[in-house]
């Protein structure tokens, strides 16, 4: 187990270096000189040269990369071309909203997905199973930005149960929860559908296993068979899907934040792409990608803890 963790952590470090290099390179591949963007149209040649010098843009590419990396390790992502504010501070101030949204969405996805998947498997080939299968396929196919707009139209505008958008109150308050519910459903629906499909197939596989038949033959109560013998084993692949989905939800927040006007990292990124504010885009991409691989690492380790066979592979 320790070997597996060490191996995965080493791989993670290499991966993070690769991610940081791609993100760093993106600014150099993009058309336009950053110094021109910062200087603006009125800047003289001398001004532009001064900016280039101060940013270290005249240094060789690898020197620039290591300077960038050094900054990133110390939490310095540079400063915004547009607002001149520190990228780290801008990201930090918006990150809690993104994280709250992602966590709320994965909770929605787990509750709906696992419940629907298990009931479908237990009532295999019933009307519930059929309906859940069709709904989960529809759930994967619904554009979440559209679902968000429809939810706003129905529940915020017509019924006025929830606010139209924004995430300004702390999530533990009633108002905060109300603000979080519609975005969480919007973002969590696709993942709920995927988790439901995985839970159903994993559960169906386990229900037919010999040891489950043996448990029933021994006279173990049906509830115990389902909760202890089936669920525990069926959840192993489901946990992986949940973990992977949490990573994807972090990426998915970008769209949901835009629909619900939530001041998160995703919305900041879209605004920055439109303004060609590269340091901000780089910072946001680096932050989300790092979290994504960290979540995957945790999933790998948890998976190995639950199923010790993984550690020996």
């Amino acid at each position: 187990m320790a070997g597996l963790i060490i191996r995965r952590v080493l791989q993670l470090i290499l991966l993070l270096l690769g991610i940081s290099f791609i993100v760093f390179l993106s600014m150099h591949i993009a058309p336009g000189d950053p110094a021109d963007i910062i200087g603006g149209p009125t800047a003289s040649k001398e001004d532009i040269e001064g900016i280039r010098e101060s940013l270290g843009l005249n240094e060789p590419l690898m020197v620039q990369y290591f300077d960038y990396l050094k900054g990133v390790i110390h939490g310095d992502f540079g400063f915004s071309f547009q607002t001149k504010e520190s990228v780290s501070e801008a990201l930090l101030s918006r990150f809690p909203n993104t994280l709250n949204l992602a966590i709320a969405s994965i909770i929605v996805a787990i509750v709906i997905g696992v419940t629907a998947g298990i009931i479908s498997a237990l009532k295999h080939n019933s009307w519930f199973d059929g309906a859940a299968t069709v709904i989960s396929l529809a759930g994967i196919s619904i554009p979440n930005f559209w679902l968000g707009a429809i939810l706003i139209l129905v529940f915020a505008v017509n019924l006025q149960w929830f606010p139209v958008g924004g995430l300004t109150e702390p999530f533990w308050t009633v108002e905060g929860m109300k603000q979080l519910i519609l975005p969480a459903i919007t973002l969590g629906t696709g993942s709920a559908a995927m988790i439901a499909r995985m839970s159903r197939s994993a559960m169906l596989e386990v229900i037919r296993a010999d040891y489950v038949r043996t448990a029933r033959a021994k006279g173990v109560k049906e509830k115990t068979v389902i909760m202890v013998h089936c669920l525990r084993n069926a959840m192993i692949p489901v946990i992986t899907v949940i973990g992977l989905n949490f990573g994807f939800l972090l990426g998915g927040t970008i769209i949901t934040e835009q629909v619900f006007a939530i001041n998160g990292v995703g919305r900041l990124m879209i605004e920055s792409i439109a303004a060609r504010d590269f340091p901000m885009v780089q910072g946001a991409v680096l932050l989300v990608a790092t979290l994504f691989v960290l979540v995957n690492l945790v999933v790998d380790i948890v998976y190995a803890l639950i199923d010790p066979r993984i550690g020996f592979e």
């Binding site: 290499l14 991966l15 690769g18 991610i19 791609i22 993100v23 993106s26 591949i29 993009a30 058309p31 069709v134 396929l137 529809a138 994967i140 196919s141 619904i142 554009p143 979440n144 930005f145 559209w146 707009a149 429809i150 706003i152 139209l153 505008v157 499909r197 995985m198 197939s201 692949p237 990573g247 994807f248 972090l250 990426g251 998915g252 970008i254 769209i255 835009q258 990124m269 879209i270 920055s272 792409i273 439109a274 060609r276 590269f278 885009v281 991409v285 989300v288 990608a289 994504f292 691989v293």
Partner: protein, 298 residues
Amino acid sequence: MPAETATKELILPAKKKEWEIGRIFKRLIKNKAAVIGLIIIILQIVLAVFAPAFAAHNPVKQDLSLAELPPGTDGHWLGTDNYGRDMWSRLVYGARISLFVGIGAVALGLAGGITLGLLSGYYRKLDGIIMRFVDLLFAFPGILLAMLIIAILGTSLLNVVIAISIWSIPTCARIVRGSVLSVKKQEYILAMKSLGASDTRILIKHILPNCMAPIIVFATMRMATAILSTASLSFLGLGAQPPTPEWGAMISAGQDFMWTSPHMIVIPGIAIMCVVFAFNVVGDALRDALDPGMNLEN
């Protein structure tokens, strides 16, 4: 070898192939959801190809006197948008954009993914380098990678195609590599090698055709992802720009008017959902029909 036997050998595989396709199609149409999916896909293809014949009006022509007409209005059965543009005509041309962008993105992604997958699976020396590159692409959530690429290239529909195709490369490469690893151990490949066939010939003529089943399933399901992602990126203003009648951009434009004209967002949303659903169910059914034991989800 007598000429007759040689001819037989040439004809038999073709006949077998026809039989195989027929068997797969029969299995496919047993699945009711897949049949509905196929009908939707065919409908989209027909609408996309013959868009000018189906669209009653110019999809970008504005007429403010006809703005925000509800569905069911004479001459505009799906109503009009805030600029008085016919919703049905925009929907039909949107079908064309969504299909062509989807095909373009998937085709480019397949080209990159198949090449990398074949090389990585066949040549052990290249495997490590290619797979680490693939791992690196996998380290970004898809939409994030697409947005980074668009941030570099700029916002346009063509750049969306490029971004989505790059996003498709790692998954495709892994699928193809897995198939190549199992196919290259087969005896007929060893036989081809001992007969002196070149690596290119073995890869393209003998290994690739035998990896087609998972590639077809991947391509079908990827169409769904490509269409959905194109719409998402256009909704964010990073893809199609106004007045292009792209479905995601239509929803984005309709958001400001959804209180007075909900049909502006409801109609294109249903269109996206139907098409994505269709490709998903057909992909699912194809997977079962081609190889019941194969499961991409796992």
